[in-house]
Point group: D2
Chain length 134, copies 4
């Protein structure tokens, strides 16, 4: 089960080189992550938000442009004890070609105590569903 997130490139996300600025891809990856968290049944933005991002990367394979229709496909790449890694493919919707590949490592985290915690079984099962179908 991969989660699909549509992306509408905004004009302010381009830069003077005429293409989508590199920092904008991380906005798209965040949006895909948030949608994946929704899929996990964890509504981000709430008081008990249990995730903190510890690392993210993006490989830029092709330049993207304003008005281009993009989407992000998100799956689980790795499931650890207290953390997991998401894999994101940013694709051109028309051609289905990969524009960029992203990764994000997320720690299961208690913001009140400011400590990481072991991923509970229910959440782990949900993550495994996406992992199986990678």
């Amino acid at each position: 089960m991969s989660v699909h997130t549509s992306v509408r490139v905004r004009f302010c996300e381009t830069d003077a080189l005429g293409h989508v600025n590199n920092t904008s891809y991380f906005i798209y990856l965040e949006e895909a992550r948030v949608q994946f968290f929704d899929y996990l049944g964890k509504r981000s933005g709430t008081d008990d938000w249990p995730f903190i991002l510890v690392s993210t990367k993006c490989d830029f394979l092709k330049q993207a442009y304003f008005k281009q229709s993009l989407h992000v496909e998100t799956t689980v790449k790795r499931i650890g004890t207290k953390s997991f890694t998401l894999m994101h493919y940013i694709k051109d919707t028309e051609s289905d070609g990969v524009v960029a590949e992203g990764e994000a490592t997320v720690v299961y985290y208690d913001f009140k105590k400011q400590v990481s915690e072991i991923i509970p079984d229910e959440l782990r099962s949900k993550l495994e569903e996406s992992y199986q179908l990678l």
Copy 2:
């Protein structure tokens, strides 16, 4: 007394038209406002932050570009009972020419109660100092 804020245009703040994107000016105005709040002795970002923005505008007189050295001059344009209006001049530092003019109306606000409050005398005096020298 006007408060000066230097601005380093960031590349991601430009857009595909080759100039600084309109949304970026509001980042600069926010930065100038924060610095003006510091001058007022109100450290923004703290728990008792007493200001909420109710309106802001920007007139774009000239296009601005990446690497251009800008600064913002901020003064008080109006002092009301529960609100005040700031005037911002975004200038090209080399020529001292005005690139854009901004305004911001700020309400004295209690975030816990979520209500506006009368500007206390001490703050009013501080605002008047900037107003006098407009």
Copy 3:
């Protein structure tokens, strides 16, 4: 004829006060403007993009939050010789209540010559359609 633009608030568009940051509304206004330009038959981002923004403002009536479903309704408020002014209502989609009101004054502009030009009749007619139904 008003143009409707749906807005998905992104998490990075919130700030440490827990609400949508003021600068983010101008991103939404830009998106609405771009969509209005599409309606006008002017595809933004192209070489002959004929519009330059000379002024924009936003009145913040209510705070907006992450995950809130917003949309922008855009109409024409004023049609001049070389410029026109758009009116934007940013609304909460669920309640249809107005969250913020924006305005944008746009000049018909030749980027190559870097001069303003008279709005051609065809474009004026299209603007008038939105103006009539304001």
Copy 4:
């Protein structure tokens, strides 16, 4: 020779979790990269800008906050035939503690031809100076 870039965290770069949003670090990394390109004698934003970013990552070691004084130290981690990798340490200026570690792989690129090219000797020498002192 490492290049130092000071960073002023802007309020709009925080998010509703109360800390600096992950996407903002990539703004700081871009700013550091631009300053490193200046050091290389390549003025970014010009017509013959010869660099394109192909990959970037950031490991978030500590949360950062509004008003925190940060700086980025940039050195060269790898020099290839047509590309090189920069290493960035984002540090808290007061404590000198590392807040985040970033990397960026940059290709020497001809935007007009849209092809990568071999790094010229003069540029390679300049990169080696930063590499030696890593």
